[in-house]
């Protein structure tokens, strides 16, 4: 059912020569080549796109990573790096002519330094494991993507992952100090340091979020921050989505940067409540969850201010968590939103657009129109604090044409995100999924600049080919189907 056109550019890999070469550099237990062993690697969290690689390498040392990359470079074989495979944009989808380089065995926490407040970990370490290791010192790693139980630091670096607390505590790029990277040619680079800055260009910023296109990370040093003494959540109900959106703006205007600020619409709470029993107001058109953290005095002060703002913004009901158990219950619904929606529909497709917060009501009413247009339902959960919307489009993959409609629905949401002044992806990455929408977000000169950057690190284009940045050719083709107001994009390119 994959709708993907063949990956570009194409490669002609000699399977036997590749296997022979890999057998020379990897012990048998670090190499998979049989189809049944390759099958689990055919997709990541975006299961609609699948491809079988020619081999999966599971190196255990940096030396082996270097060897795999160097040999693939010599043979001209594409390499797709992979962590836990929880990504939602197909960024770790294999290349049919290539190798999957799994960092799953790089799973050691090398150092937790209490005094310097940092941890040095291998890329296959799970996000939550870092916080668990730091907990005895009253510290934690701030970025907390909802997949944090399973997703790995290497994947977080590749995607610049966020989470529900990034408005206050930042994204991966704000919390990583240093990485060790192996280039496709097998050269090792140390980027960043434990000092607050490093000489030269900020390559750390360039590499974080580069979706495995520029290098393979073999070590990550992250910043740890002191765990707040207390956290408390205010839950507010609104009988109008626009009012809830305005309430978010009012909180920010009042000078408050909450630790978390999340919104769910009625279809989302309706899906979640029977499953989680979080105590959500099912009559509300939208609910807001606003978390304050810090010292008990600080939290009390912020909760009082937030409550005042929410009342003034027309909340129909306000509840403040009275215990840690209640706080976790309020959050449980939000955190379980995806699986909860998964219970009421055979399949769902999670989108990841960001928009200026003030355009929320506009976006949600446009989505309501799209639901009718495509004949599919959609529930919306929203990292309201930073404008990151996750519409969950419900469909049934077993029904012919259903996935295609879901995909078109999603594409329209992303196009609208760009039109409203936002972005096609806030935290899930472009991968293969949003490759066409990149043509809407960026014009040919920027895309050409991205290709030049790619060539600086990977001249022959072997790392994760066909992902993250579309070729101008592909955009020309996509542009033919998406003519806005009679303006043909890429007029300088030949049409086909």
């Amino acid at each position: 059912m994959t709708a993907m056109t063949p990956a570009e550019p194409s490669f002609q890999t000699d399977r036997a020569a590749l296997a022979q070469r890999l057998q020379l550099i990897l012990p048998a237990h670090c190499l998979l080549t049989d189809e049944e062993d390759l099958r689990p690697y055919e997709c990541d969290g975006l299961t609609a796109y699948r491809e079988l690689p020619m081999a999966v390498c599971l190196p255990e040392t940096e030396g082996q990573v270097i060897d795999v990359l160097r040999n693939c470079h010599q043979l001209g074989v594409p390499v797709v790096a992979r962590g836990a495979g929880t990504g939602l944009s197909g960024g770790a989808m294999p290349h049919a002519q290539g190798v999957v380089l799994s960092l799953a065995r790089f799973n050691k926490i090398l150092r937790v330094d209490r005094e310097a407040r940092l941890a040095v970990v291998q890329p296959g370490v799970r996000n939550l494991a870092v916080s668990e290791a730091a907990a005895p010192f009253g510290l934690y790693y701030a970025p907390d993507p909802s997949s944090q139980i399973a997703c790995t630091l290497g994947g977080n670096v590749a995607e610049n992952s966020g989470g529900v607390h990034c408005l206050k505590y930042g994204l991966t790029v704000h919390n990583v100090l240093r990485i060790r990277v192996v280039s496709i040619e097998g050269e090792v680079f140390e980027i960043g340091s434990e000092a607050p800055d490093a000489p030269g260009y900020d390559l750390l910023a360039l590499l974080i979020g580069s979706e495995g296109m520029l290098g393979v990370v073999t070590e990550v040093t992250v910043k740890l921050v002191p765990k707040p003494e207390l956290a408390q959540v205010v839950m507010a109900s609104f009988n109008d989505v626009a009012k809830a959106g305005d309430a978010v703006a009012s909180i920010i205007a009042a000078g408050i940067i909450p630790a978390g600020l999340e919104m769910m619409d009625k279809p989302a709470t309706a899906a979640v409540e029977p499953f989680v029993k979080a105590g959500y107001d099912l009559n509300a058109e939208a609910i807001l969850l606003c978390e304050a953290d810090g010292t008990p005095e600080e939290v009390a002060e912020e909760i009082a201010r937030v409550t005042e703002v929410l009342n003034a913004a027309g909340a129909s009901d306000i509840r403040v968590s009275q215990s840690e158990a209640e706080r976790l219950r309020f959050w449980a619904g939000r955190k379980a939103a995806f699986p909860a929606v998964g219970r009421i529909t055979p399949d769902y497709y999670c989108m990841d657009g960001t928009i200026p917060r003030k355009r929320l009501a506009e976006m949600l009413s446009a989505i309501a129109v799209m639901e009718k247009k495509y004949g599919l339902r959609c529930a919306n959960v929203f990292h309201a604090g930073d404008g990151n919307l996750h519409p969950l489009i419900m469909y049934d993959a077993s029904q012919p044409g259903n996935w295609e409609r879901a995909e078109a629905f999603g594409a329209e949401i992303l196009e609208l995100s760009v039109a409203l002044g936002g972005s096609i992806t806030g935290e899930h990455g472009v991968g293969i999924e949003k490759i066409n929408q990149m043509c809407s977000q960026y014009a040919p000169p920027e895309l050409a600049a991205f290709h030049r950057i790619k060539a600086v690190f990977d001249e022959t284009g072997l790392l994760n080919p066909g992902k993250a940045v579309p070729s101008l050719h592909r955009c020309a083709e996509y542009g033919r189907m998406h003519v806005h107001h009679g303006d043909v994009k890429f007029p300088e390119l030949e049409r086909f």
Partner: protein, 349 residues
């Protein structure tokens, strides 16, 4: 001055292979490699393009003075949280190009942490838009942050969008008497606790500590930490930000960025410690300083010095051959003929 003027100036320099020296207010002419090339004065390309307090961003043209931006932010109770130095009339373009952050960097983050988007004129005169005005955007490589601190070598920053934050409700500055060793130990110890420390400055036996946040949090922390309330704290922190404090005087000043827990290297001339121990200032000629900083896991910038010394030492710590090669290729990807601020970062490109 319009964007088109910058574009045509860069295009003609590109065509004629003429080196350009991009200049805003010239407030950081002392910083980095030697100045060379025909001046491309972009100070007149100025003005705030957009400011949305509830969306937490501000977009301004490169020549906009920081003072103008901060005045607009102050009206809405907001700030540039990285607290950049103004020196003499710094512009926002120069601020991002130099990537220098002020005292609040230890709590809020550096310039690059707040760059959301840039409009760049690259070395062949193309206008490129990277990033945007939203907090989260992972589409495409993060060129906007790469530009921070690149000293104009990758393009002329024509416009920049910065994330802004609310000003803290309360601030208090405490002063402690202690030597540098004890200051480093205390700063690291406090750094591991949930305390609202927003700035620190040690100089000649005294440590200034600024607390910023909710009133209750600042009150509680202040009671817990002790110390003496500072006299005119606001002026004090401005003098640190602007480096008008006597600690920064002298002809030769080294800036060492090191892990906050790094011990004091065996160097004379320690003038000041900032950023919770991670930023250290040394005065005078220092033969061994680059090696010492590198052994501690950091690097040393020859921050202020006579031209002859800057020529000899280079302003920034040398890059490994592999990293240097990468830098050169990146420079070429943005500025194929090497006409933009060449030599300002490293003599090699």
């Amino acid at each position: 001055m319009q964007l088109d003027d910058i574009v045509s100036a860069v295009r003609s320099a590109h065509e004629s292979h003429t080196p350009l020296r991009i200049r805003g207010a010239g407030s950081k002419d002392f910083y980095g490699g030697l100045l060379a090339g025909e001046v491309l004065d972009v100070a007149a390309h100025r003005g705030i393009v957009a400011y949305e307090p509830t969306e937490l961003y501000l977009t301004a043209r490169c020549g906009t003075p920081l003072a103008e931006i901060e005045a607009a932010l102050a009206e809405k109770g907001q700030m540039l949280a990285f607290e950049p130095p103004h020196f003499s009339g710094a512009t926002v373009g120069g601020c991002v190009a130099a990537g220098l952050s002020g005292p609040r960097r230890q709590q809020a983050g550096a310039v690059r942490d707040f760059v959301l988007g840039v409009k760049l004129v690259d070395g062949s005169g193309q206008v490129l838009n990277f990033g945007g005005q939203v907090m989260k955007n992972v589409a495409g490589y993060d060129v906007s942050r790469l530009i921070a601190g690149s000293l104009g070598t990758l393009g002329v920053i024509a416009e920049v969008t910065l994330k802004v934050l609310p000003r803290p409700v309360a601030e208090q500055t405490l002063v402690f008497a202690m030597d540098s060793g004890e200051a480093l130990q205390k700063l690291n110890q406090w750094g591991g606790q949930p305390l609202p420390v927003s700035a620190s400055f040690w100089h000649e036996g005294r440590l200034w500590l600024r607390l910023s946040g909710a009133s209750a949090a600042v009150e509680t922390a202040s009671r817990k930490l002790g110390g003496t309330p500072a006299v005119s704290p606001d002026q004090h922190w401005i003098s640190i930000r602007e480096q008008t404090h006597p600690a920064f005087s002298g002809d030769i000043l080294w800036r060492l960025a090191v892990p906050s827990t790094a011990p004091c290297p065996g160097l004379d001339g320690l003038r000041a410690i900032e950023w919770g121990g991670a930023l250290r200032w040394y005065a005078g000629e220092q033969a061994a300083v680059r090696g010492a900083a590198s052994r501690l896991g950091g690097h040393a910038v020859l921050y202020r010095a006579p031209e002859s010394l800057r020529c000899l030492e280079g302003a920034f710590a040398p890059l490994s051959p592999a990293l240097l090669a990468l830098h050169r290729r990146l420079k070429k990807a943005f500025d194929p003929r090497g006409i933009l601020n060449s030599g300002r970062l490293y003599a090699e490109f």
